[in-house]
């Protein structure tokens, strides 16, 4: 179990993409597959911690579950 590690990678990726698109990231949509080896609740918990003191602090994490092995950043909600 390494959800904090995954959350940190997610925050880094979301921040990078947010920078590129411009505007404030208010929500991060992810897809977590059953076989990805990542627990939804643990990820949500870790996400809050991982966001602290970053440009996306306070953003909401929206998790979509699937059957496969996905561990994907699907979309960002951006306030211009």
């Amino acid at each position: 179990m390494h959800e904090l590690s995954v959350a940190l990678s997610l925050v880094e990726l979301a921040t990078e993409e947010g920078d590129r698109l411009g505007g404030r990231v208010c929500a991060v949509h992810v897809k977590i597959g059953q076989l990805a080896g990542v627990a939804k609740e643990a990820l949500a918990f870790s996400y809050e911690i991982a966001c602290q003191d970053t440009p996306i602090a306070g953003s909401q994490l929206v998790i979509e579950e699937s059957d496969g092995r996905e561990l994907e950043l699907i979309a960002l909600e951006i306030e211009s």
């Binding site: 179990m1 390494h2 590690s5 995954v6 997610l10 080896g37 994907e72 909600e77």
Partner: protein, 214 residues
């Protein structure tokens, strides 16, 4: 007036950074002609013992080296170095798996074109390593005769990301009434067509066969 937030599609693998580094490592390994084999298993399945045996045997015929990952201590590296091969320890601290960046960092200063084989022993863990490509050419998942024949069914993801299954401590099979057929069936159920080999680091059984599969 505040505008409603816009939803922008991204569709990127969260661990894409690891994948990028892993792919670059794989290219580098291909260019320098070194065959890279990684080993994953539960703690205590016998990765280090097997690797020690293999390094000792291969060292006379090939140029071999190894990286070994643990949360703490350099014990495994010291033990493996007895084989005469070049060995480096990666201590991860609290991280439960090796990542491509750790491998890349650990290879600093090694001339890969002077190596035939590089073995990477992962942290003992059948869960997390499945998510992290290390750039290897071949991934061996190891399961010992003492772990229960249904182990593959309990950890399908790692078996799916591996290329060969190595059943270890086969010398203990009798003592624990190991059911080889059941284990093979379960491995095939999770990963049809998976190549398996049974070994004993202690007696040397199966080592020759394993080497030909590398």
């Amino acid at each position: 007036m505040t505008m409603a937030p816009r939803l922008v599609e991204v569709r990127q693998n969260i661990l894409k950074q690891n994948d990028i580094v892993a792919r670059a490592l794989r290219s580098r390994f291909d260019e320098t002609g070194v065959r890279v084999v990684s080993m994953v298993s539960s703690p205590g399945a016998g990765k280090t013992a097997l690797l020690e045996r293999m390094l000792t045997e291969l060292h006379t015929r090939y140029r071999v080296a190894a990286l070994v990952g643990d949360l703490a201590t350099e014990n495994d590296a010291a033990r493996l170095a007895r084989s005469g091969a070049a060995v480096r320890q990666i201590t991860t601290g609290t991280i439960c798996h090796l990542e491509a960046a750790m491998v890349q960092h650990a290879l600093d200063g090694w001339a890969l074109d002077q190596l035939d084989f590089l073995f990477i022993e992962n942290v003992g863990n059948l869960v997390c390593p499945a998510s992290y490509d290390l750039g290897e050419h071949l991934r061996c998942v190891m399961v010992s005769v003492t772990e229960g024949e249904d182990k593959p069914l309990k950890y399908p993801t790692i078996f799916n990301t591996a290329d060969i299954a190595v059943i270890t401590k086969i010398d203990l099979a009798g003592a624990v009434e190991f059911n080889r057929d059941a284990m093979e069936r379960n491995i095939q159920a999770v990963r049809p067509g998976m190549r398996t080999v049974a070994v004993s680091a202690k007696t040397g059984e199966g080592i020759g066969e394993l080497v030909t599969l590398l």
